[in-house]
Symmetry: C2
DNA sequence: ACAATTCAATACATCGTGTTCAGTAACGGC
DNA sequence: GCCGTTACTGAACACGATGTATTGAATTGT
């Protein structure tokens, strides 16, 4: 967060006609720092982790850290950004086939992805880093959700009865809260398939069906 | 966050038979520190605010701060706890009358409360303080929501068709996301009544009604 | 006006940060 | 395999923020 020129550009100076293969040490170091950050933050909280803790856990010198990142914040931002491009890449193919039709494929993919990168997702969803990571994540997901809703509405020629932004926020908030709850559980009571299936039912049939009401004789909501 | 004995107990040594009125200076100082924290965090983010910034903004000496709180964290925790007891007090009367029947009275109350304490709510919902404040808030709200759901189900003799914890998380996530979005808007496009009304409709009639579908010929969800 | 206690101001030890640089080890390309 | 290049080390340094302690002055409740 210091007012500093970003030094974290080990530019892939184009070698010969080659693929400009990144130095092996570099990859190792980046991964080590990334993993150290994630596991330490999970254990001690973001503010409770010093740069020296990270480098120590990664078996590196403190000086090395500053060769890659300007900051603890810089490291976290990079880690989260990387996660988001990976997620988008996995999601993209499911999107084109999804502006009409759809089952909850994208959502399932997210839950599976979260299961693989469990600690990082926990870190983000806990709001570590003063919520910056969470905001990044939320932003991407709501943007994608809004686009899906919009495309679907246009494709079917219908107009939402409620503020479309509100709908987007509500939907994102709903599944993200469930994801956060699900990913924090010690013993996985639900599989990704079950969790997303429930979210789907909830969305499709409504909260009153889910609560157990038989008819539409349902009163308000808390 | 330092391993320190909590010194922040200026005990209300009971005076005479009086109401144990807290020293006026003390109240003034506490409020000043509270307000300074909130507005500074909104502007610069939690990590970007020094204790000295707070005391300076509150026109106090840095030494004074440590007479009241051990930490920046301690101050934030206290502020959030105070908010939560205030919120619970406002909500309690609406709860007893709400395990049957209900309109969305409690929810409306929360939105109104958020409007009054706008900056503090923004701070919390942004996840400042590594999400500790947000977790506190979420915890209280989901606990209350779960209790409401449980009481209602028992009162009506129905059993939820989905994991009740999932339902609780989903509902809390939904309205909290909408609250966060609503409270961050610069020009209040929606009144508290409108916002909660929409959430109510959404919950009552379901996402597909809200999206604009006429019948139940609705496909899945994103 | 009096006693109590809150607040100011200063000084101090400590810790984490971010930078620098000379020396060493590991890498990729040929 | 060697060699030029690049990544890492280790230590030292200045700096800023934290938390503590102490003394004297200002305000308060009574």
């Amino acid at each position: 967060m210091a007012g500093n020129i970003a030094r974290s550009q080990r530019v892939n100076r184009e070698g010969s006609g080659h693929l400009a293969t990144e130095d092996r040490r570099t990859r190792r170091t980046r991964r080590a720092l990334r993993d150290a950050l994630v596991s330490l933050v999970i254990e001690h909280g973001y503010a409770g982790v010093k740069v020296e803790d990270i480098t120590e856990h990664a078996d590196l010198s403190r000086a090395t850290f500053y060769g890659y990142y300007t900051d603890k914040d810089d490291l976290l931002d990079t880690v989260v950004s990387d996660l988001l491009v990976a997620l988008r890449r996995e999601l993209r193919p499911l999107f084109s086939a999804s502006s009409e039709g759809f089952t909850g494929k994208p959502l399932l993919k997210i839950f599976q992805h979260a299961q693989e990168e469990r600690d990082l997702y926990r870190l983000i969803l806990r709001g570590e880093g003063d919520g910056r990571a969470l905001r990044q994540f939320t932003e991407v997901c709501t943007r994608a959700g809004a686009e899906l809703f919009r495309a679907r509405a246009e494709h079917l020629g219908i107009a939402p009865r409620l503020d479309p932004e509100l709908l987007t926020q509500a939907w994102a908030g709903e599944w993200m809260a469930v994801l956060a709850w699900w990913i924090e559980a010690d013993s996985p009571a639900l599989s990704p398939e079950q969790a997303t299936e429930m979210l789907l039912s909830l969305s499709l049939r409504g909260r009153y069906w889910a609560a157990g009401f038989d008819s539409e004789t349902a009163p308000g909501s808390p």
